[in-house]
């Protein structure tokens, strides 16, 4: 169910056609997804205080209604370890068009996955699971299912990936928490069903999965025109 706060964030975002990342993270966490600790800073002193509270290393990202694709404008910096780098990053990001603040989030580690969905013209919300990073574009290693999904569907999707061995432990790497991933997929499919009249597409990218949990590290919610 979409509660009042989610609805009001969506309403506010209509003027941009998409949901700014801090708002998207807020929506996801209200809906029951695991999201990283984060905050948004406008000044250097705010940034430093927030980063210390979250704990270094942190990720810094541009918040701007003009920037849908943050990495295209070099608007994402990972692995920031100290105040000095953080302040320098803020200085650079604040020159980007439409700068409305800098999002500071905890660094999460794990296997990068993509969970996405779009409204198909014939079938409605379709959920996609794929390996993240560069791999998704080269190998097109994805599985697709129509929402809503149950745990069994989510299991089939995971087994439909060519790279599933990377998730279940390969050459000594630690297996990810598969139940957490399945749960994330199931919640996401329900989210898409609830949002189908409002959104065009949603991409959780990356979702960081490790032995303990699956955390949505970034999200793009595109609204219907």
């Amino acid at each position: 169910m979409l509660n009042r706060e989610i609805k009001s964030i969506l309403e506010k975002s209509r003027k941009w056609g998409w949901v700014l990342e801090p708002d998207a993270q807020r929506i996801l966490s209200l809906y029951g997804f695991k999201t990283p600790k984060f905050d948004v800073a406008a000044t250097g002193s705010e940034a430093v205080a927030m980063a210390r509270k979250i704990g270094y290393p942190v990720v810094a990202k541009i918040v701007s209604p003009d920037v849908v694709h943050k990495s295209d404008v070099k608007g994402v910096v990972v692995g920031i370890k100290d105040d000095e780098t953080l302040i320098r990053t803020l200085a650079r990001l604040s020159k980007i068009d439409g700068f409305a603040g800098m999002l500071i989030a905890e660094m999460v580690r794990g296997v990068e996955l993509i969970i996405g969905a779009k409204n198909d013209f014939q079938f409605g919300p379709m959920v996609l699971l794929g390996m993240g990073g560069v791999g998704v574009e080269i190998y097109k290693d994805v599985s697709l299912r129509m929402a809503p999904l149950n745990t069994k569907d989510a299991d089939h999707m995971i087994h439909g990936l060519g790279a599933r061995k990377l998730l279940t432990g390969y050459r000594g790497s630690e297996p990810i928490h598969l139940n957490a991933l399945k749960k994330t997929i199931v919640i996401f499919s329900r989210f898409m069903m609830d949002m189908q009249d409002v959104v065009e597409s949603v991409d959780l990218n990356p979702v960081m999965c490790n032995a303990k949990s699956c955390i949505v590290a970034d999200a793009r919610i595109m609204l219907k025109k």
Binding site: D120, F121, F123, S143, M146, H156
Partner: protein, 480 residues
């Protein structure tokens, strides 16, 4: 459409009377008159009403100037007038209380002009406003051999337990001809064209509740309400398999879809996931479609993927084994007991006792074949059997090959009630007319006796692989 309303679609396939708007007095060209002609020839026993204001008689039938002049509201009206005259014809149908209409006419959204799209929207609006059930436009409409409603499709066709939903009359024509010639009959087929009013989900829901239909074969290019189709298919496939030939899975094919039925084909990746999620059985050609329908219609459920291969000779046995593995089936080792039985009939030299079983004797002496089959039927490693049956050829150096051994084979397999799915392959698709005829005669005799027979090993196991995956998915067969 509500459940009860869907049930009334049965009227299309069993009408007591049919009026045809758009018949010519002279021309027998494709259209209203040619449909009338075929219905008469097929022995349609209901009342036929040609509508033509200028004629008193068409094909020996009394003609009427309009629907209003008819003594009754016809169960079915076929509209075959020019596209721009269709809306007026539909209004007339509604006025006299004729609600079931097949619009043969083309020239709607598929011609991709604003006028075409507008006419189709008008057709749909009239249907909605006047509560009409319309098949079409731009299609061949209903087909049912048991009602002698066979103006298109295999004629006379054969009554059976197959339901067909199709966005192509041409594809369905070939399909029904092919499958009926092998003895697998059709209960009902609907060629739905642009599907402006009644779409594939409506007929899927209707056929899923039709006790005369066990298996649904569909040729689709597009669906307006994919979600409804998906939900229905998910409910239907465990009880009634759906074999779906999806058109427009390539860029060129998809472009052709829009000029064929005026619709969008959709993303093949999405369709693939629809197949996976619903358990619909996808096929990619007319041959695969027929092959799968033979297997699904005639075979008992398989409990696994282990294939026993009989006959073929040495090299063929090797190739057949490769082919089985390629499609995801297995060629397991026989049990010790089966091997003992088979060794007792197979000579040491010139044959291979095992799986595949390469033993000329199974071809010459039916009792050898039956012993091999019995061994396989009782062997827990084996779930399905493919027998490569050769056409008698002069080259075989055996004098006794002209004797008819087929009747005995059929009787044997029938007496075992297809203990495990058993199919035959009988080759020949080269250019020698005599071998072609022998091959197709033998295949037809097997199929008509309820035993699938395929023109190649690859086609046989293609069908068996689909059949196995279906059985596994719905819990009949083991394996992942």
């Amino acid at each position: 459409m509500s459940r009860q309303n869907v049930r009334e679609l049965g009227r299309f396939f069993n009408p007591r009377s049919i009026a045809v708007i758009g018949v010519s007095r002279e021309s027998m060209n494709f259209g209203g008159s040619s449909f009338l002609h075929h219905w008469l020839k097929a022995g349609y026993s209901g009342r036929l009403y040609p509508i033509n204001p200028k004629a008193t008689e068409v094909l020996g039938l009394k003609a009427y100037p309009s629907l209003r002049a008819l003594p009754e509201a016809p169960d079915l009206v076929m509209v075959a007038v020019r596209a721009d005259l269709v809306p007026a014809a539909l209004t007339e149908c509604a006025d006299v209380g004729a609600r079931f209409i097949h619009v043969l006419t083309a020239g709607f959204s598929e011609i991709s002009t604003p006028e075409g799209r507008e006419l189709e929207a008008k057709l749909a609006a009239i249907a909605k406003e006047r509560n009409l059930r319309i098949i079409g436009p731009n299609c061949m409409g209903p087909y049912s051999p048991s009602s002698h409603l066979t103006a298109w499709g295999a004629n006379p066709g054969q009554d059976g337990r197959l339901g067909i939903i199709s966005q192509s009359g041409g594809v369905t024509q070939r399909f029904t001809e092919y499958i009926c010639s092998l003895g697998v009959g059709v209960s009902k087929a609907a060629s739905i064209g642009n599907a402006a009013v009644l779409d594939s989900p409506d007929f899927l829901e209707f056929m899923s509740g039709d006790s005369e239909i066990d298996l649904i074969a569909a040729y689709l290019e597009s669906i307006r309400d994919g979600r409804r189709f998906f939900d229905l298919a998910r409910r239907v496939t465990p009880r009634k398999p759906i074999i779906l030939l999806k058109g427009g899975q390539s860029r060129r094919g998809a472009a052709t879809v829009s000029s064929h039925t005026g619709r969008m084909a959709g993303d093949p990746v999405i369709w693939k996931s629809v197949f996976e999620q619903t358990g619909i059985v996808p096929v990619t050609s007319l041959q695969e479609w027929v092959d799968a329908c033979l297997a699904f219609s005639l075979l008992p459920k398989t409990r696994g993927k282990g294939v026993f291969i009989v006959g073929g000779g040495g090299g063929n046995s090797v190739l057949f084994s490769d082919a089985c593995i390629r499609v995801g089936l297995d060629v397991p080792t026989l049990s010790g007991r089966s091997m003992d039985r088979i060794r007792s009939i197979v000579p040491v030299a010139g044959s291979i006792a095992g799986n595949p079983l390469d033993f000329w004797g199974t071809y010459l002496v039916n009792d050898f074949l039956f012993e091999a089959l019995n061994a396989a039927y009782e062997d827990a490693n084996i779930h399905m059997v493919v027998v490569d049956r050769l056409i008698p050829r002069i080259a075989f150096h055996s004098p006794d090959l002209t004797a008819d051994s087929l009747t005995e084979i059929v009787d044997f397999i029938r007496s075992r009630r297809q203990a495990k799915p058993t199919v035959f392959t009988i080759d020949y698709d080269g250019g020698d007319p005599d071998l072609i005829r022998q091959g197709s005669d033998l295949r037809a005799r097997f199929c008509k006796a309820g035993i699938p027979a395929y023109p190649s090993f690859e086609r046989a196991i293609g069908a068996l692989a689909r059949f196995y995956r279906y059985c596994r998915r719905f819990g009949y067969a083991a394996g992942r």
